[in-house]
Symmetry: C2
Subunit: 496 residues, 2 copies
């Protein structure tokens, strides 16, 4: 009886956190979609004010006792929420306020400098801006680690329950398996699609229809259009995703839709009765990325997917898509070309870019690598892992925004997502049948049902490694992913 009262206090408190997060997401979504230029400054202060109110609410000392009591609850959902709450409160209280402010300022300066220095290939200015930012991030990592490993403390912000000691051997094995594959496959794939133009409005119409087809509920969400595709949770029952439109290339819109659709359907599949609690969200970024990559790479790169979508494209783009068959789309999509820029990379080489960044950022935090030496180390690593040299500094160490914003510990979650997605695809094939066959015979619904049951409905009841172990029947390994690459990109398997 006493615990019921305490749970009520905790639930109300978490409800306010959920409302503030949802409100901030509405402000961010609007900023990406509709906000006029003149609103940028005010939107920034509104978001800061909401963040400050959230911080104060998160640390409300009145919750100390109720949370300690609920952490011992026999109800697994309540216990998980309390565990996450205590973790988030510990994190928030470990970093002193003046360090939080200094980080925010250095991060803004870092991003602003990066935006100017990158197009100018001005490495020196960039290094000068990130040097103090990385020093502050190391301080933050040390404070968060509370005696533990500083890099792990950063990784834990994005991928709770996963440590560098778990990631490093996995990534080493992945690099060793992928590098020979890249040598074999570089240059694979078919010719590009006709340059169009592929009508913008028709692309958005195809995107909305495809979202509904894979299972995104449009009565509880919106498909929008932005320069950079994104998914946001604006609250229970309101999930927004956006795709991009390039009138010379419809694949860009469709693949971004599948990727964001995977994130968005995860959001829609979280257990409704727990949505206003901390356990009612995804446990990690890697877990989230497993869903986006599942739909993008394990559904969207199959022949069956294009057999299904092809007739719709023929109708939507008369005169442009005439005569294109499923295999034309699939082969144009599944091209392998080693290149310096991560975000333009194909699926085969992509993780080598992540592995390089993970190794380097680990060394930045341990102190083994000085920011001044980062550009050279980046070039060396690219030569070693990918066998190429960036054509210009802008396409080397400076290419991503992450480090310039003080975001370290985030990169590994991309590759974890890829590995998780491949393992889930194998498990789905075991459980409901080969994905091509399922798509041809029943459409995407059985695949979504599999993910709903094994992943979405479990929220953050357990951390990502355990969640994936339960859903796939084993510890994470590189094998399913390597097998997927071999199946998808090997020239002999061009028709599945």
């Amino acid at each position: 009886m006493e615990q019921a009262r305490e749970w009520q206090l905790v639930a109300d408190w978490m409800g306010v956190l959920s409302d503030l997060d949802g409100a901030a997401a509405v402000l961010e979504w609007d900023r990406e979609t509709d906000m006029p230029e003149g609103g940028a400054a005010a939107r920034g202060t509104q978001l800061s004010t909401l963040a400050a109110l959230r911080h104060r609410h998160l640390l409300d000392p009145a919750l100390d006792e109720p949370l300690s009591a609920i952490a011992e609850s026999s109800d697994p959902w309540q216990a998980a929420s309390a565990r996450i709450a205590l973790r988030d409160r510990a994190r928030a209280s470990r970093v002193p306020e003046d360090l939080v402010r200094a980080l925010a300022e250095a991060s803004s300066r870092g991003v602003a400098t990066w935006s100017r220095a990158r197009p100018a290939d001005d490495v020196a200015t960039w290094v000068e801006a990130i040097t103090p930012l990385i020093a502050l991030t190391r301080q933050q990592a040390t404070a968060l680690a509370d005696g533990g490993d500083p890099y792990d403390a950063l990784l834990d912000l994005y991928e709770p329950g996963t440590t560098y000691a778990m990631v490093a051997p996995l990534f080493d094995a992945l690099a060793a398996r992928v590098r020979p594959l890249v040598e074999t496959l570089d240059g694979a794939g078919g010719p590009s699609l006709p340059a169009g133009p592929w009508d913008d409005a028709a692309q958005m119409s195809v995107a909305r229809s495809l979202a509904a087809d894979i299972g995104f509920d449009l009565s509880a969400g919106v498909v929008g259009r932005t320069a950079h595709p994104v998914t946001m949770s604006l609250g229970p029952g309101d999930t927004r995703l956006s795709t991009r439109v390039d009138s010379a290339d419809p694949l860009s819109c469709i693949m971004a839709l599948l990727h964001e659709g995977g994130h968005a359907m995860y959001d829609q599949g979280l257990p409704p009765e727990h949505r206003r609690t901390l356990a009612g969200d995804a446990p990690s970024l890697g877990a989230h990325e497993s869903q986006s990559r599942f739909w993008e790479n394990h559904v969207g790169r199959t022949l069956a997917f294009w057999e299904r979508l092809g007739p719709e494209l023929a109708t939507a783009f008369p005169g442009v898509a005439d005569g294109l068959g499923a295999d034309d789309y699939r082969r144009a999509l599944n091209r392998v070309r080693t290149q310096a820029v991560r975000v333009e990379s194909d699926e085969v080489t992509y993780d080598l870019h992540i592995i390089l960044r993970t190794r380097l950022e680990r060394r930045l935090i341990t102190g083994d690598l000085a920011p001044a030496d980062l550009p050279a180390a980046f070039g060396d690593g690219m030569r070693e892992l990918l066998g190429i040299v960036p054509d210009r500094p802008a396409n080397g160490a400076m290419q991503d925004i992450h480090w310039s914003a003080g975001i370290i510990g985030y990169f590994p979650t991309y590759t974890l997502g890829n590995l998780y997605a491949a393992a889930l695809a194998d498990a789905a094939a075991d459980r409901v049948g080969p994905i091509d066959d399922v798509l041809r015979e029943e459409g995407p619904a059985p695949l979504l049902a599999f993910l709903r049951e094994g992943i979405h409905s479990r929220g953050s009841l357990v951390e990502a490694p355990e969640l994936m172990r339960d859903a796939t029947g084993g510890d994470i390994s590189v094998e399913p992913f390597i097998a997927h690459l071999e199946r998808t990109y090997s020239p002999t398997s061009s028709v599945s």
Copy 2:
């Protein structure tokens, strides 16, 4: 020196209020424009949470001393902000929390019941729902009045500085002058425009271009489309307005654009350096309505306006607008037809609907009229003021949402806005020239400049009656409005 520190405390505190108001407006704008059906419940709790945080922040006791000090400031902007802050804090502290909650619940129930009962003409159910709500509103009024007049305390929420004793004689004089006019003018105006269809997208394109033409800054705002036109301030530099589109009638879109454009340009013209303070907003709803009505009725109903817009309409609606001249638009617009429903009424009869409601709601609050007797009293008043009887209860006392939501004291602000607008139009004519001539020779810019200087730039430095006195050179009277009606609707002045 001491006061500088206190002002900083007050300014920071008001900045947070401004951020919370802006954030809530973003949530509301999104709700009206993009939100999927599934998001409604969460959006409601998010808005409640923001309102609760705002309430707590508003009453922060740490501001007692700084506000008292700043109220005595020699800086008129600082003193005005402190005066408004103290007023808002007094209001918020006078109504007990359990009454606030009871009102919110009764209001939700009232609106829900109204939505069902009105289409069914179910007066009995409606009266049953509003009876407790009106009792609670009387309690609220008494608490707010703190010994003063309860109805004035409600009116003061929307129209600070204006009392029923000021409004009643003005409205009596207005009724006496308008009723004979209605008898003369009923039936005036030209034939309707062709039924079209007037292309929806072309209407929105005309609306955006018209917004820019009258002076709305699209780099600091958005023109959207909603079922019910609205203007919202999402923060300094971000003003959103929406219009409606009826494919059978382009006038509806254009007039709503002018109306909301007037509100929106007021928002954009508020003094930027005071936007995060309480004095940096409009002083009352009547003042705001004066701006919407200025553009809608004193610009939009002139021949010169349609001479200016006509060519654009001919281009935007080929085949539909062919052969229509400025006077065809103007005469189709300026029709007078007495009818029971306020929101469908013409400009001549509109204020009689408001006068009726003001008299009745005053009696509801004094206790002179029981809610059960409201439907009959409404019918009697309509017969007396407008000479007609509603065809059905849905078009009688139940027609508006206001009373069903517990909103009393709001109606008079519509008519005050109309009177203020007419006085401002006369003052503009004196200062910059007859409006038709100005529009023909220089376009709308000199009119906006006049409003910017006399109204917008002054924020809430003074209350609305003083603001209007300063801008028009005299106390408010019905004469400018009556003269405007005679000029605009008299058949002999059909060409100006």
